[in-house]
Subunit: 358 residues, 2 copies
């Protein structure tokens, strides 16, 4: 069987285990030298989050802080990080995954004392991701939710199981939280067509858009989950597929696309594994609303405020986005992707998408 | 290949087509007799929603209203219903499905004039469901969202595609919005274990709880979607599987279970197709919180108010529920299903669930 992608998972896991071991060894070594154990952690504060024009996504600058067991205010946090690293190592060794919430509850049994709330244990995991240069998934921590639905000519392997994304049912193959564990075996598609709503996803599956456009149809279910973004990144890099994003014509839809393209500021420390800077927005624009005479809703106060924010956001600093945002503010209207049904259920597949994809 | 279930879908679709034809024929006949066309629609107002002790779920009483083309205030609505019925007939004939939102936008092209908002077109669909005794899905209208994830020994057929729910990937087989279109081919499981969160779903899949309990693991993703409820109903009736529901120990979790068991008041007109009155709650109770010494959160004001509502809700009128709700109010605490990880990730599979399932 042709394996398109290397089993990158085992390399990832080995690297994660190695990083955790190095951390442990460093702590032991410092204790032997009668020095306080410490760890340098890149700062995730706003002042250290930088939009990297060249790579096209948010990344961290070079500021960092020191977590030290010698600092009374940090000693509990440092001890918790040791316990968390140990927990992750045992996950890796036993080939298990746990959710952030399970780790939070597991900490009830740690000698260091438990976390006061989950925000605290989540922040600790983010510290570890930034400090070790690992995704939490590489350390055995998985997101709570599944990723998007995928339909089209893609065959993958999860463990011993081979899955054909045209034979997993109408609802498609669901991207698991453990996406880096998935091997791409075979891909007949030439592009990815990611759509915001499951309504549109089912429309495209029903109209056989995956055949017509030779595409993997991805149903994002709104804002893309981490696993979905990682899938899109891998499809783009490993399979060489261009990614097209079809969203509603409103500020929320624009941002769903932009987070896939340029990443979020909050995940700046990990965007190099998630962002797809060459992904293309083919969602509904203000120009489309006018040109197709679409059914619309009036922009709400919050839409207007959000659009004005986007105008100043460095990720939207291109002629295309500036023109379209300005135009949407002028016409004062937004439109959903399903609005094309005004012209019949298959209009979106027969007219709109072919025109957007050239 | 053994087909466990009759191809009920074709019967359903034929019945729906028949009902729509009868409606059309009746309208034509009345016009021929120079009478105004009209339709009797069961009332969905609160006063006509009755908790049926015997069947164990909410249902409609025998009040009804008359929609008449002779009434100036109803004529537009009546004409829209004719267009909607025609739209549904064409969906059935072309073997397509559309979302409620697509129908709303399609109505932009109707001669009757469009709907002022989607709430209006949704209400019209509910009128049709109640008047014709059909689910919207039978008329070709599908929910926007997919249903739950299923993992375990179940083989289904969707069209030409055969899907094994142990071979669809770790994220499982996704129940499609068109669940009545799915045939059950083979089932090796003896029960259904439906869990509230995807975190718990993935825990149970990972710990092979589906083997251990001979169960279909269903990940509800919070409040169960229509397609999920229909799946559970069919698994219970057609496959004869008992349904066990494992939720968080809080009023929201209780209600997720209760809506599966006894249906919602809002869908009283269709609960006979969705409710699973013999499903069993095995979620976290106030007694479990005490007995297992679980990590808890304090009840919020809104939790307390909600619990007090549940005390008066006829669906909770049993000794078990009254005792547990009272106890939860007394201890003032709630707990999540993942809280068992305090005792290790596999505790829930090795201890809690065996004890609850006897």
């Amino acid at each position: 069987m042709l394996t398109l992608t290397q089993r990158s998972e085992s390399r990832r896991v080995k690297r994660a285990e190695q990083k955790l071991r190095e951390f442990g060894a460093d702590v032991v070594e410092r204790i032997r030298r009668v020095e306080p154990p410490k760890l340098s952690v890149p700062s995730r504060s706003t002042s250290n989050i930088i939009y990297d024009e060249k790579s096209g996504f948010y990344t961290l600058g070079d500021k960092f802080g020191m977590r030290s067991a010698a600092n009374v205010r940090q000693v509990k946090k440092f001890a918790q990080m040791l316990c968390a690293a140990d927990f992750c190592k045992s996950l890796i060794t036993s080939e298990k995954f746990a959710t952030l919430r399970e780790m939070y509850y597991t900490a009830e049994g740690w000698e260091t004392g438990s976390f006061s709330d989950q925000a605290e244990s989540n922040a600790l995991v983010e510290d570890m991701e930034a400090a070790f240069g690992l995704k939490r998934e590489d350390m055995g921590l998985m997101p709570e939710e599944d990723g998007a639905a995928v339909y089209g000519e893609l065959v993958v392997r999860e463990g011993d199981v081979r899955i054909d994304a045209t034979k997993a049912g109408r609802a498609g193959y669901t991207i698991p939280p453990t996406i880096d564990d998935v091997e791409f075996l075979k891909c007949g598609a030439k592009r990815v067509l990611a759509v915001e709503t499951m309504g549109m996803y089912h429309r495209l599956v029903q109209e056989e858009a995956w055949k017509k456009f030779n595409a993997l149809i991805v149903g994002l279910k709104g804002q893309a989950a981490r696993a979905t973004r990682r899938f899109l990144k891998r499809a783009n890099e490993e399979l060489g597929l261009p990614v097209h994003i079809f969203t509603d014509g409103d500020p929320f839809g624009f941002h769903i696309a932009m987070v896939i393209i340029s990443g979020s500021a909050k995940l700046a420390y990990i965007n190099h594994e998630l962002a797809v800077p060459n992904a293309e927005f083919i969602g509904v624009t203000a120009s489309d609303i006018v040109e197709y005479d679409l059914p619309t809703d009036k922009l709400k106060e919050c839409d207007i405020a959000r659009l004005k924010q986007l105008q100043k956001d460095p990720r939207y600093n291109s002629e295309f986005w500036q023109t379209e945002i300005k135009k949407m503010l002028e016409i004062g209207k937004k439109a959903e992707q399903q609005a094309f049904s005004k012209y019949g259920l298959d209009y979106v597949v027969n007219e709109y998408l072919p025109s957007k994809l050239h």
